[in-house]
């Protein structure tokens, strides 16, 4: 995998050959608490930046995930159906959520690298 980039909504993206693997960060999973269900998108769904793509249900509450970029869903992490707790134990690896074939000309200038993201968390907690 390449180097991860991050959103202000605590998602991470790993982009390889125009396909982004997307999940939520360690910080996000701590905020969510024990995850009991992940509502994943359908493969083939066409998404526009900002669309609600998934919902993470923890014991405490439901958290919506909006797609940070536009594209087509080309894969979802089926392991989360049986083992939603992967999102707590390994949010940035085994707990990835979905893969998005990005629309042409996607723009990642608003996203943060690891170090900027850590600064962002520190500044907002």
């Amino acid at each position: 995998m390449g180097e991860k980039i991050y959103t202000r909504d605590h998602e991470w993206l790993d982009i390889t050959d125009g396909v982004a693997t997307i999940g939520v960060t360690e910080f996000a999973q701590e905020q969510l608490g024990d995850v009991v269900f992940v509502d994943l998108p359908e493969v083939g769904a066409l998404l526009t930046e900002g669309d609600e793509v998934a919902v993470i249900e923890s014991v405490k509450a439901a958290g919506e995930v909006n797609t940070p970029l536009s594209g087509t869903v080309v894969g979802v992490n089926e392991a989360l159906v049986e083992e939603p707790e992967l999102l707590n134990s390994s949010p940035q690896k085994d707990g990835w959520m979905f893969k998005l074939a990005l629309d042409e000309g996607y723009d990642i200038s608003k996203l943060m690298n690891e170090s900027d993201y850590q600064d962002y968390i520190s500044a907002n907690t």
Binding site: G33, D34, V36, F37, D39, V55, E57, S58, V59, K60, A61, A62, P84
Partner: protein, 374 residues
């Protein structure tokens, strides 16, 4: 209800922070939503061992004066005159229209003296209500008392060592006793469905009491998150969610809390606020009522979700819902039209436009384990 600057702390605030408590404003207090273990772990710990809950935000009141029982009976549909000293009753403050203003626990402390524990979010309104209707009685808000609950199957072992007299209590009874030299009022009650105790203690002794309880390996702090999932599995209502001014105790499934003597034909029939409406509900039945559900699959159904029948007609609404850690499945309660309230009825809840199949079940969803004697 208050500015951030007004948010109060309980005497256990520093204990919560030290235990990794995620502190959130709740009913005017900074309270622990959860600790480092998380809601799931804290919930299961309470069902298996003993959870310690800070419930000092709740209102503790003493009502005293000649004729206190009869006077209070005008506000609750309970036969308070029949309570023995030290005995408790669950009650609702009813409204003039037959709705519920709050729910509470009343303990008889003496012939003319009652101890009330009311919800944190309602306590100011409750005090006003009591002063309005009980002008000949002394109403004291115990602002200098903390309250903790020790809940779970190990609670009796711990209290048995620290306060043997309190361990003799049956469910819904209380006594004044000493715990390691600290004067406390202990009741065998709680909000988890487990056997357990609630302990009222003077603020200045609160942390010393907690130290004694926390000295046991089986005891850990449990936050508001697990308190909610525990009471939900136990089928217990949360005021403002599962009941409010718009619901009568009969609709809320709390008819059991209306004493026989206060019902039609009883020796003290009616005579409480809203009694005409409430007794009518008892006699004629109600068109909607509170019921429990278990949900297929893993996705929780939460407060506000509409309940629909197989034709897609809306027949009710969810008022509390979440994941039940003991059952390892989502559970909920809500109100449905009485025609759809039979145990075993299959209904759907609408969650983000998707139907979630659920089955109406008898409450509690997890058996209550109150101590009513060997």
């Amino acid at each position: 209800m208050s500015n951030a600057a007004d948010v109060k702390q309980t005497k256990f605030y520093h204990y919560h922070v030290e235990a990794g408590g995620k502190m959130v404003p709740f009913a005017g207090y900074l309270m622990p939503l959860q600790y480092t273990g998380g809601i799931m772990q804290e919930h299961l710990h309470t069902r298996e061992k003993a959870g310690l809950f800070d419930v000092s935000h709740m209102g503790q009141l003493v009502i005293e004066g000649k004729g206190a029982a009869a006077a209070l009976e005008r506000l609750v549909p309970v036969d308070l005159g029949a309570l023995a000293i030290g005995q408790q009753s669950y009650a609702t403050f009813t409204s003039e229209l037959g709705g519920i203003l709050d729910d509470l626990i009343i303990t008889r402390w003496a012939d003319n003296c009652f101890f009330l524990v009311v919800n944190a979010s309602c306590k100011e309104q409750d005090i006003k209500h009591l002063r309005e209707h009980l002008d000949n009685l002394d109403i004291t808000y115990l602002s200098g008392q903390s309250l903790v609950a020790l809940q779970g199957p190990k609670a009796k072992i711990i209290i048995g060592e620290l306060a043997p007299a309190a361990n003799e209590l049956l469910f819904m009874n209380g006594c004044r006793t000493s715990i390691g030299g600290i004067d406390c009022y202990v009741t065998r009650s709680g909000y988890t469905g487990e056997d357990g105790f609630e302990i009222s203690v003077a603020d200045e002794n609160a942390t010393a009491l907690a130290d004694q309880l926390l000295a046991y390996d089986d005891v850990q702090w449990v936050g508001l998150g697990a308190r909610d999932s525990l009471r939900l599995e136990a089928g217990l209502c949360l005021y403002g969610h599962d009941m409010d001014r718009g619901k009568s105790p009969v609709e809320a499934g709390l008819s059991w809390s209306i004493s026989q003597s206060r019902r039609e034909g009883g020796s003290k029939s009616g005579g409480f606020l809203g009694s005409d409406q409430i007794l009518k509900h008892l006699a004629d039945g109600v068109s909607t009522k509170r019921v429990g559900f278990v949900i297929d699959g893993r996705a929780p159904v939460r407060e506000g979700a509409e309940i629909v029948d197989d034709q897609g007609n809306v027949v009710g609404v969810i008022t509390s819902g979440g994941f039940g850690p003991t059952l390892q499945m989502p559970v909920a309660m809500g109100y449905v039209k009485t025609d759809f309230s039979a145990v075993g009825t299959k209904l759907d809840a609408l969650v983000r436009g998707k139907s979630r199949a659920m089955t109406l079940v008898k409450m509690p969803m997890v058996p209550q384990r109150y101590y009513r004697g060997d």
